[in-house]
Symmetry: C2
Subunit: 318 residues, 2 copies
Amino acid sequence: MRIVVLAGGIGGARFLRGLKAAAPDAEITVIGNTGDDIHLFGLKVCPDLDTVMYTLGGGIHEEQGWGRSDETFTVKAELAAYGVGPEWFGLGDRDFATHIVRTQMIGAGYPLSAVTEALCERWQPGVRLIPMSDDRVETHVLVDVDGERKAVHFQEYWVRLHASVEAHAVVPVGAEQAKPAPGVLEAIAEADVIVFPPSNPVVSVGTILAVPGIREAIAEAGVPVVGLSPIVGDAPVRGMADKVLEAVGVETTAAAVAAHYGSGLLDGWLVDTVDAAAVEGIESAGIRCRAVPLMMTDLEATTAMAREALALAEEVRT
Amino acid sequence: MRIVVLAGGIGGARFLRGLKAAAPDAEITVIGNTGDDIHLFGLKVCPDLDTVMYTLGGGIHEEQGWGRSDETFTVKAELAAYGVGPEWFGLGDRDFATHIVRTQMIGAGYPLSAVTEALCERWQPGVRLIPMSDDRVETHVLVDVDGERKAVHFQEYWVRLHASVEAHAVVPVGAEQAKPAPGVLEAIAEADVIVFPPSNPVVSVGTILAVPGIREAIAEAGVPVVGLSPIVGDAPVRGMADKVLEAVGVETTAAAVAAHYGSGLLDGWLVDTVDAAAVEGIESAGIRCRAVPLMMTDLEATTAMAREALALAEEVRT
């Protein structure tokens, strides 16, 4: 079985662990969000790709969900001693090495997709990880800072401002001109199942879908497209998805996110058992829906979620 | 008093400590060798500039003579885990930060001289440190490897091969096209004394002198030019200067190095007391010479050497 997953960072990466356990023989292709990539200290940092790579490769900081385990921060402290920031982005020494290798390879002319493949040679994530695009796409968020409306990089909004200011709009700058990376459309066309994990529907899955050709390829693949709600009981399970959902005019409910993806794209949707009352409405909108536990508390729970997603896919296939 | 010093790495840096102590009120301009600069992991590394900066700024690894004190090697180990080398060049985590800042600034369009000034803002070396040139100059060494004659980067010859293979030639690639960095010729023209510290006469001081305009400016400055022999008792005090001296056809003696600089450039020369027998011959070649202790065993000894150099300069001035 060939499964394609559109993944953001922590939520997507943890779900993928469960999916690998639920379908150990499947060929899993992960299309990774690169809209939150950022240049820091002259280095290209790809937080979502790295979170997937480190999580599946055994290098992740488990409690934190991002960054490397056993991390130290010597380089960052030295950069601060030079007066060079930003200090609000937590790059550790181990993590720095990844960005140094990536930046060196990109400087040598390799596209991000080839670089990601090379980095995965070390991590052996057990999935094929492809960035959504080799072209630069940068998610910017329109906010008011000191009485002035301005666009800030998503990481500045998310990490520095902790999404504490109102987001008026979320714009994946460069997405319209971006092309899907080599392998992305092919993987979608050859997929047996396409899965939207409980990643952020706006700044993770939404950004991937904003690359021209990807949404269309998914809609036309003719295979089940199933998703898992990142919203449980009208609140995001992690992160600040409610803030960016508001910016795009979507309520923070499992049903509203399903409707945001739309029945033209989505065939099946899993909501948490606490949102069981929403099932009927979602189904009446043309999306098959089941209520199952959706908290990724451990690998067992996550594996069960992945099994439910694959079962729902088989259900909508027939 | 304005003193200009042409410096390589360890020998030059340690001498400068003594010079600062011997002439605390002097304005010291250091013209640093950049011929051993190397690009590693996509980062610009300037070993000699950094050794001067760290030594005078209190960040040097004292025993080693290069690199940072309290150093760790997490980034390097991670790079090796990615299969990315070279492993033979010892870049520590603290040191990496310097190269990251430098590379970022150069990428942003700043010349190396401006970058060096910015890095020195942190280290406050107490001297004005200027790279010999903002243009790329790279010392290559012609060696036989596996039966084949080829040019290797100086660092590969020095650090990886430990100068264990015969050097047939030493070539400062790019020197002929290089221009002195802003401030270099001005500092020389305004100097009261010009000093060649006990740095390598071929790959340190020699490379600086290979930048068109610098040798001529020194010869025409009309002020005392004095040097200290890096050769004591027919052997280099540190490093492998004998190997590169042989490559340029110069004997490893204090007298031969003085003759290599030449009386057209050099007015005074200090040899070690063990080489006192060479004084007469050097003086007969038109270079004022004194035999004094030249081992930089501690700051006191080094300060005494600097005082002798300044005294010799006053002697030749009259």
